[in-house]
């Protein structure tokens, strides 16, 4: 602590804090424009100049570090006059037209000019009007309103880590430029909008928000982003049931600290998409007709009841969604278990991340990300496997890049493609797809061989090390090179880097899990963490990144066949009794079937209730799924849009968006945060929880909740990790489970003292390499792998309905290596057929050496390109997750 005297009063401040923050924190307002919390101070606007004893002249408060004994004067006549003069000079730089300025009302320059009462500028005002740059899909640059404070430049460099924006020229000609001084839209701008959030004036504004409302006309609601699992906190600015602007919440206790990605900031207009379903639809004679709620719900209730009565409860099933709130997921599984009377409940994580849950539970006793995003700051080495961070979790990727650039974090990237993050990596390994366990075992081989393991940790906290030793001993670097294609030296290098880390952390994604041996892969990563003691401490751990906004929460809420909320097994009689008592019905002790079974196995179920899922795009081998679903007796889809899956349903129930309801999401790092209603549902759509309640009512099981907070109270009462959660406690921030009591602060990282396995020890679970289900051959010589791009998520059901996101990335393309392109004689941008043993698509190509030779890559969000028609439906035996990451294809040029 240091003690400073400001304007004659003594104040206490944290060591190292800057004077401006100290003043602002103590209610002393100092005018400033170039400074913004979270950005490095540059002291260029010269408005925060103050007098400090012992320092010559005036010093900028923003770049002055407080020290004990400092005597500061923040306001006097001289300072005031100089501030005013500088403001006037700034005002004279352009003709600031506030009348139609998008920042009118939130402009910091305007505020200061008003504060200083400047009604006339004594200098001639520069009347030159420079053209707007509206080349970007989402951002408009108005150089006439730019005060050259550089906040956007620093935001781009320090928050987004992109360095797209910078200054050009100098002196009075100084200007803001993008890229190589080109229109913003021509640059590699990631459209994250960090710049415009940082902009104090109207120089950078949201393109699609232009003339959509003035700042005081908006309803402003803080909520949680509905796109990925990052859990970014944002403020929605809505008007007339439209989300017009979005700002990141700049608070320390958020995951994003004000940052957002293109989807969060510019991709929420799907909420007001004209494609939204506004009334229930009932398929009559093969065609949907709009219906009243009552009719639709009666029909649904009757049909499900009929099937239950005729074929038994286990012929019914429900697929929940990672997009719904915790409360809705909870109610959905409760509905399936009470009204249907079955445990046939699953959700889309089955298609991506269940191997994690299985492997982590096996190794540690719980299937969640062990650490949290912010704790990465304590790591010195980060290993990222099968995860394209910049496209998948841009906000987190930026934070990571910042750490890497600061020199405080070493980065190992393992990805067959040379992703953008690979450019930042100290070591980039590019294994052959499907050989993850090989390089993992190879690294372990080196770590054990070179004594880089943590013997004490292994001794005290693990079991099965001998077993591990035996298996990995076979994976010499030479053999690893032979199978995976990763050079020996690189494996050794990576193993040493991770092995020697004082805090090594592992992040992985679906590149690791979506394999028939995905569980083994994750198990291998667990072995890496356990053997080096990189678990149970901040800055370490095994961090699964859930793809969707509430992937973690849906699982927590028990939308899984064998467990109730909180991972409580349905087969445990005590648990069964607890839930029977709470819910007042008899419950089935028999674990249900998985989504894979529901979708791929004919004649297992007769009736299906899908809430928000879109397996017709996300599942493997779509034609097989279609066949199964079309043969169902009755299928209900509850969604915001008429998705590919909804189209084959019998009844479609219109759900409303996250902006129209209250609730909570649990992010990928177990962080439970509020979702808040911004406006009433559009059309006759309803929140999922209401629909479930209504339907339940119709099926004779009364569910009555006044508000989602009541549902959360019930969740807390039945779910030990959530026991301490309430809406009141979540307040503006959030809590990280486990939060077992009402006064528990939440848990930043897991397994600090003990593991949740039966023995309390971490379990090594070594595995040998198995070849993938389908390898390229003469007929199908290419490997197809899939991933995602920055602009789309889920199956595109949200993002395709966002104007900006759609325009930024309208269609999937097939990435192909130049030499492969030569081989099949296709040029960049040309269409090509991709055929597998299961299906065929036509797609445009992008020739790039980002993909390795022999492998083609594409994303899966186009409406008219069903990439998953190609993928294989072989499942991981334990997790039942399909091998979506790899299948054999051939490429054919259209005749």
């Amino acid at each position: 602590m240091v003690y400073v005297n400001i304007n004659g009063k003594d104040f206490e401040a944290a060591e190292g804090s800057n004077l401006l923050d100290v003043c602002e924190n103590n209610g002393i307002h100092i005018p400033h424009l170039c400074h913004k919390k979270g950005l490095s101070p540059v002291g260029v606007c010269r408005l925060c100049l103050v007098k400090v004893s012992g320092m010559r002249g005036l010093v900028p408060a923003c770049s002055t570090t407080v020290a004990t004994g400092m005597q500061v004067i923040t306001h006097d006549e001289e300072i005031n006059d100089l501030r005013r003069l500088n403001l006037e000079m700034l005002l004279s730089e352009h003709e600031h037209n506030c009348l139609t300025c998008e920042s009118n009302g939130r402009c910091e320059l305007q505020n200061l000019v008003y504060e200083f009462g400047i009604d006339q500028v004594r200098f001639p005002i520069n009347k030159e009007i420079k053209p707007l740059d509206d080349s970007s899909e989402v951002i408009v640059r108005d150089p006439n309103k730019c005060i050259l404070c550089g906040r956007c430049v620093r935001a781009c460099r320090e928050i987004a880590c992109k360095n797209i924006l910078g200054f050009t020229d100098r002196g009075p000609a100084l200007a803001l430029g993008a890229g190589l001084n080109e229109p913003l839209g021509f640059t590699e701008c990631a459209s994250c909008g960090a710049c415009l959030q940082a902009c104090p004036t109207g120089a950078l504004t949201e393109k699609h928000a232009r003339f959509q409302g003035r700042n005081w006309e908006f309803n402003k609601v803080r909520t949680t982003c509905p796109h990925c699992g990052g859990g970014c906190q944002m403020e929605l600015w809505t008007k007339d049931k439209k989300v017009v602007k979005v700002y990141g919440v700049e608070e320390e206790n958020t995951e994003n600290k004000g940052n957002l990605c293109v989807k969060g900031r510019f991709g929420l207009d799907f909420v007001q998409s004209p494609e939204r379903l506004k009334k229930p639809l009932i398929k009559k004679n093969g065609k949907f007709e709009e219906a009243e709620w009552d009719e639709a719900l009666n029909l649904v209730a009757n049909k499900f009841q009929e099937i239950k009565n005729t074929h038994g409860p286990d012929t019914l099933a429900g697929i929940a969604s990672s997009k719904s709130t915790n409360e809705e997921c909870y109610l959905f599984q409760k509905f399936i278990r009470t009204c249907f009377g079955t445990n046939n409940i699953d959700f889309c994580t089955r298609l991506c991340h269940t191997p994690s849950a299985v492997a982590l539970t096996r190794a540690f006793g719980g299937g969640a990300m062990t650490n949290s995003m912010g704790l990465l700051e304590h790591a010195d080495v980060l290993l990222v496997a099968g995860l394209n961070l910049t496209e998948m979790y841009p906000v987190f990727a930026s934070a990571m890049k910042k750490l890497v650039l600061s020199g405080n974090l070493k980065l190992i990237i393992i990805d067959p493609r040379r992703t953008e993050t690979a450019e930042y990596a100290d070591i980039w390994l590019s294994p052959r797809i499907g050989t993850d366990i090989v390089w993992i075992n190879g690294m372990l081989h080196v770590i054990l061989n070179e004594g880089l393991y943590d013997g004490e940790f292994i001794e005290n906290r693990t079991q099965g090390f001998e077993n591990l030793k035996e298996i990995v001993s076979k994976y010499t670097p030479a053999r690893v090179e032979e199978i995976s294609g990763i050079p020996e030296a690189k494996i050794i290098e990576a193993a040493r880097l991770y092995g020697k880390a004082s805090r090594g952390s592992i992040l992985y994604g679906m590149g690791v899990t979506q394999h028939i041996h995905g569980t083994d892969n994750v198990g291998g990563l667990c072995n890496l963490a356990l053997s080096t003691g990189n678990i149970g401490k901040s800055g370490t751990g095994l961090n699964t990144i859930a793809k969707q906004n509430n992937g973690q929460g849906a699982g927590d809420m028990g939308c899984l066949p064998p467990i109730y909320p909180g991972g409580q097994p349905v087969s445990n009689p005590a648990v069964q009794e607890k839930f029977e008592k709470a819910w007042g019905v008899n419950l089935s002790p028999k674990p249900g079937i998985t989504e894979a079974n529901m979708l791929l196995d004919e004649n297992t179920i007769k009736g299906l209730y899908v809430m928000g899922g879109n397996p017709m795009r996300s599942g493997p081998n779509i034609s097989r799924i279609q066949n199964v679903l079309e043969n169902l007796d009755f299928m209900v889809v509850q969604d915001m849009f008429l998705t590919e899956t909804a189209k084959i349903a019998h009844v479609v129930l219109p759900a409303c968006s996250f902006a129209e309801k209250d609730g909570t999401f649990t992010n990928t790092a177990r962080f439970i945060q509020r979702v808040r209603k911004a406006f009433d549902p559009i059309g006759e759509s309803k929140p999922d929880w209401k629909i479930i309640c209504d339907l339940s009512q119709k099926m004779g099981y009364a569910m009555s909740y006044g508000h989602p907070k009541d549902i959360m109270n019930e969740i807390a009462s039945l779910t030990p990790p959530y026991a301490g959660i309430s809406y009141r406690r979540l307040g503006k921030g959030g809590l990280r489970w486990p939060c077992p009591q009402k006064d528990h602060p939440g848990t930043r990282y897991l397994w600090a003292e003990t593991f949740n396995t039966p023995s309390g020890k971490g379990m090594f679970s070594p595995a040998d390499y198995q070849p993938p289900a389908e390898s390229p051959d003469k007929e199908y010589p290419f490997i197809l792998t899939t991933g995602k791009d920055l602009y789309h998520l889920h199956t595109g059901s949200y993002t395709r309905n966002s104007v900006a996101l759609f325009n930024l990335s309208p269609e999937d393309v097939l990435e192909i290596h130049p030499s492969d392109a030569d081989r099949v004689q296709v040029k960049d941008g040309e269409e090509i057929y991709v055929r597998s043993r299961r299906g065929s698509i036509k797609i445009n190509t992008r020739v790039t050496d980002r993909v390795p030779e022999g492998t083609v890559f594409t994303t899966l969000h186009s409406e008219n390109i069903a990439v998953n028609a190609l993928t294989i439906d072989c499942l991981d035996p334990m997790a039942k997750t399909p091998e979506l990451k790899l299948c054999a294809v051939k490429l054919e040029k259209p005749a």
Partner: protein
């Protein structure tokens, strides 16, 4: 390399260096080895022709087989860049100037072989009026204190051995035996302050860096010299690079740095090449690199080439640039000494600072600080540029006055122009006006007058410089070079530039000066870095010291220096106090249309016959033709035109505007009164001129001798004015203004001149044969006879003194002019001085009479010699008594002509302390309503045309006064008739062509007659001369 090796090298090369310092000139049969020292500085290279003198010498040495006898040495800059290419022949220190390859053979034959000087190439001293054969006698060198430049011109900078021979690197050797803190203490003790301009104590800076924690520290040399007109660092690096390397190594040792950078401008290729060689040689000798001189001290230096951004001279911007970032300054603290390059403690020192360190460490702080002022020790290198005779690189002791630098070392201002200001510190500095020529230069004294030492750019401005335009130039420079990130600098510069542009275009307002000051203050106080903090200094400084020039631009829409092109049509007309339309009458004259030319002249000039003879023609000083060959003889063409009209009875009275009923009284019929009468008459007023003397014309009639201005011509001009209706009442002395008002005069113009005679007040002034200059002339002019005797002494240096002297000469006397300063200080027109000397007038300078001795009449005069000391506001040195220098001369009479003063005590208007009328400078209004004053009565003796300008101005003010208009406005005088002479500039090549000379009678005739002896042009001559006019007004 250890100290022993170093000594061996020194001993081996020392004789060679010593042989170059032998002052004894070469003599016939001299067997000493001759060193031909050829400057390889950028300036000398630039001024050499296609073949370099070096190559030419090499060839000549080959040709004459002189290899054994002469050695060619390439040296750093000798400093006297104006005279380059420079070659110095040693021994004997003979400096040859402007040596082209074609001169080399002559030098070799005559000097190297025959040991005789090549006179024409020797340095010429314009004051002493002779060639000087040894550097040791050239003021430019003798008045300097060359310490860090001592190796420049002495050694070959590309040979480290020669540097060592002159004790190079011994300071480093000594340093390495000292404790780090001892080194820092020594530097602190010396008082060395940063030579980059800010003057921060070097030792203190080092101490900060020494105490700062850091695993790595850096020593950075700032050689990003960017001030316009600055090339000290360049020459230091080109001429003596090892001193900088040694200084860096000393500093690095003291603060604990192991890595150094020299940030040098890429525009200095020669400096870069020299440095590269020097670093390589130092590394080879183990003076840089690992384990320097066998100690554990490691230090190496890397060159970093700056790309020419001026702001990168700012230390934090410089560091950012080395870090490969945009060269933007950042706020300090943290200071680089704590957090500098790559976040590590870093000392940044200027080239000049570093070059001093070897001296301090080797010779000790006490020796080093012997010279300088209380606050500022040592020497300072300046690059002296601009309007100065000896532009070049100089090094002077701190405390040397600016006057000494400019006039002694710099040799004064070329072309007889007046010194106006010295601009120090470039765009960050300010100007020093003439009144501070005696100021001893150090950091504090310069700050005290709103200027800074700066890095050492010293640009001399003469009277032709417009200070508003100068300020604008620096603002534009800064605006171009500002990084633009901070608001006050980015915005303040264009806003200030805009205001100055407005002013230079004649659209300024007086409140703009306040706005300028406001912005400037804001920039000074709130800019992020020194560039912005100091960018307004030239403006503030010029407003402070030359406010009247700003006001001339703003109020009168006039650029006195004739620079701001928007404010005038041609420089000649701009310079003319009465705004004569010179280009137009020149055009008419060249076409032979003399009558029309006469009319054009008469628009603004009521006394063309007079001015055609006695005008001091400021127009010609500004004539653009001067740049080609010689200025146009404007006055002489006018004289012919006026004479032509006179001889051909051509008369012209300009048309009057509507008749006015008001009557106006003018007191005095001198040029001011007559000009006022003329203009008021044109305005339609009734004008009465009251003249105390029996003749009209004031001093024109009584103070100018017949041979310069024949009476009949003056009378003719006055007659023309009378014909306008102006009444001139002679022998009418006005003692009471109230009487005039009582007689219904509505306004009064007081222009009674300065007829009081200043006296020396020395013993013997009452003796017979003692005369007062104007009285003497008056008496003669009014036909009285004066007995001068044979030997006449005239005291004074003004036009009047010369008139007296020349009259006396015509009266057959032997005449000596005594003048207390030097000839070039005389206020008289140079052509008059020249004419007088031709007529046999003897001029004795630096002398004053102290007693007139005689019995009833002058017999002898006791005189005293003077010596010149400090400068006064007129940039002339003040004469002081030289002790024990009295001498006696014989004389029959003595004419004191040392000035006149107005006699105004009888008037009931406010006067200044010297009895001059106290008038508003713009309107010429006195404190009494309706009463205006002008001419000599206001200013003391004025030139004729300046007095007439007063008359015109007063006329304008009186008209305004009577019309109830504000007097605080631009004096606008509209020509009575408009003459527009179409002029299509011909596609003619202007070739050099000297002016047509007036024919003048032989001296013997001149000294025997009072007739006008200077003959007017013939019509043809006038047409020819007028044809030389470049018509600068074409298209304007």
């Amino acid at each position: 390399m250890n100290i022993q090796n170093l000594k061996e090298i020194r001993d081996q090369y020392r004789p060679k260096i010593e042989s170059r310092q032998d002052p004894r000139p070469l003599e016939k049969g001299d067997q000493r080895i001759i060193n031909i020292m050829i400057c390889r500085g950028s300036g000398c290279i630039a001024s050499a022709g296609e073949t370099s003198p070096y190559d030419a010498f090499a060839n000549a040495i080959e040709k004459y087989d002189l290899k054994e006898k002469a050695e060619l040495v390439r040296t750093g800059c000798h400093g006297l860049c104006e005279k380059g290419p420079i070659v110095v022949i040693q021994p004997g220190a003979t400096l040859y100037t402007h040596v082209q390859a074609s001169d080399v053979e002559e030098i070799v034959q005559q000097h190297i072989i025959n040991k005789e000087f090549v006179e024409r190439l020797l340095f010429y001293d314009p004051v002493k009026e002779k060639h000087i054969s040894s550097i040791n006698n050239i003021d430019f060198y003798t008045k300097q204190t060359r310490r860090i430049l001592s190796n420049n011109g002495l050694i070959d900078p590309m040979q480290i051995e020669e540097y060592i021979a002159n004790d190079g690197y011994f300071a480093l050797a000594k340093t390495l035996e000292m404790e780090k803190t001892e080194v820092i203490e020594e530097v602190k003790k010396s008082g060395l302050r940063g030579r980059g301009g800010a003057g921060f104590p070097t030792g203190v800076k080092w101490e900060f860096a020494y105490n700062a924690k850091g695993d790595q520290k850096y020593m950075v040399c700032n050689a990003d010299e960017g001030d316009p007109g600055a090339y000290m660092n360049r020459s230091e690096l080109e001429g003596n690079p090892h001193a900088v390397l040694e200084g860096m190594a000393i500093g690095a040792y003291a603060i604990g740095a192991t890595k150094g950078y020299i940030y040098v401008r890429a525009e200095y290729p020669l400096a870069v090449e020299t440095l590269e060689t020097a670093i390589e040689q130092a590394r080879n000798y183990g003076l840089l690199g690992k384990n320097i001189m066998g100690t554990s001290f490691d230090f190496d230096i890397e060159l970093f080439l700056g790309s020419g951004a001026f702001v990168c001279g700012e230390e934090t911007a410089l560091l950012a640039s080395i870090e490969q970032k945009r060269g933007n300054p950042r706020p300090r603290p943290p200071f680089p000494a704590i957090e500098g390059l790559f976040g590590k403690p870093t000392v940044i020192n200027n080239v000049g600072t570093l070059a001093n360190l070897p001296l301090i460490l080797q010779k000790g702080a006490d020796w080093w600080s012997e010279i300088g002022t209380e606050s500022t020790k040592g020497t300072k290198v300046f690059s002296l540029t601009g309007n100065i005779n000896n532009s070049g690189l100089i090094e002077v002791a701190m405390g040397t006055s600016l006057g000494e630098i400019i006039f002694d070392i710099g040799g004064g201002i070329p072309n007889g122009k007046k010194f106006k200001a010295a601009q120090l510190g470039g765009p960050s500095g300010g100007c020093v006006p003439a009144k501070y020529l005696n100021l001893p230069i150090d950091y504090e004294s310069l700050q005290g007058i709103g200027c800074i030492m700066g890095s050492g750019a010293l640009v001399v401005l003469d009277e032709d410089a417009c200070m508003v335009d100068t300020a604008r130039f620096f603002l534009e420079f800064d605006a171009d070079e500002s990084c633009g990130q901070c608001v006050p600098c980015r915005r303040g510069l264009p806003l200030m530039t805009h205001i100055l542009e407005k002013i230079t275009e004649g659209n300024g307002e007086i409140k703009d000066l306040e706005t300028l000051k406001d912005i400037a203050t804001c920039m000074q106080k709130t800019s992020l870095c020194a560039l912005g903090q100091t960018a307004a200094s030239p403006t503030l400084s010029t407003i402070r010291h030359f406010r009247e020039e700003y006001e001339a631009h703003i109020i009168e829409k006039r650029c006195p220096a004739g620079v701001c092109a928007a404010l005038f049509k041609t420089t000649c007309r701009n310079a003319c106090p009465i705004n004569q339309d010179i280009p137009t009458y020149m055009t008419l004259a060249r076409e032979g249309k003399l009558e029309e030319a006469y009319k054009v002249i008469k628009q603004t000039n009521p006394l063309p016959l007079v001015l055609g003879r006695v005008c001091h023609h400021p127009c010609e000083e500004k004539c653009d033709r001067r740049k080609l060959d010689e200025p146009l003889a404007i006055r002489e063409v006018k004289r012919l035109v006026a004479d032509y009209a006179y001889e051909n009875n051509i008369e012209y009275q300009p048309p009057k505007r509507a008749q006015r009923k008001e009557k106006i009284a003018i007191v005095g019929s001198g040029p001011a009164g007559l000009a006022a009468a003329y203009d008021l008459s044109i305005e339609g007023f009734g004008v009465t001129v009251f003249e105390a003397l029996p003749v009209a014309g004031g001093m024109l009639a009584v103070g100018i001798p017949e041979y310069r201005l024949p009476k009949k011509l003056l009378e003719h001009d006055i007659e023309q004015i009378r014909k306008m209706g102006v009444e001139i009442r002679l022998n009418t002395r006005i003692d009471n203004i109230d009487d005039l008002f009582a007689r219904d005069y509505k306004a009064i113009f007081l222009a009674m001149g300065a007829h009081g005679e200043r006296r020396m007040n020395i013993p013997g002034e009452k003796l017979g044969g003692v005369f007062w200059g104007t009285e003497f002339l008056k008496d003669l002019n009014s036909g009285q006879s004066v007995d001068l005797g044979k030997k006449v002494i005239v005291v004074g240096g003004g036009n009047s003194a010369f008139d007296c002297a020349r009259v006396a000469r015509r009266m057959g006397a032997e005449v000596t002019i005594l003048y207390r300063r030097e000839k070039h200080d005389m206020p008289a027109i140079p052509e008059d001085i020249e004419a007088a000397e031709k007529e046999g007038v003897h001029i004795d300078c630096l002398s004053i009479p102290v007693e007139i001795i005689g019995n009833g009449r002058v017999e002898k005069i006791r005189c005293r010699r003077m010596e010149l000391e400090e400068f006064d506001a007129s940039c002339r040195r003040i004469p002081c008594d030289l002790k024990d220098s009295e001498y006696i001369i014989q004389a029959d009479s003595l004419i004191e002509s040392i000035g006149q003063f107005p006699e105004t005590e009888f008037l009931s208007v406010r006067t200044t302390r010297g009895g001059k009328l106290d008038v508003d400078s713009l309107s010429l209004a006195t404190d009494r309503e309706g009463v205006f004053g002008g001419g000599d009565a206001v200013t003391g003796p004025l030139t004729v045309v300046d007095a007439m300008a007063h008359g015109q101005r007063a006329a304008c003010s009186i008209r305004r006064y009577l019309d109830g208009e504000s007097l605080q406005a631009i004096p606008t005088r509209v020509d009575p008739e408009k003459y527009h002479v179409p002029f299509a500039p011909e596609e003619e090549e202007y070739e050099e062509k000297p002016r047509v000379r007036l024919k003048e009678a032989d001296v013997s005739v001149r000294t025997s007659t009072f007739e006008e002896t200077l003959k007017t042009y013939s019509k043809e001559e006038a047409m020819e001369e007028a044809g030389r006019c470049l018509r600068c007004d074409a298209g304007r």
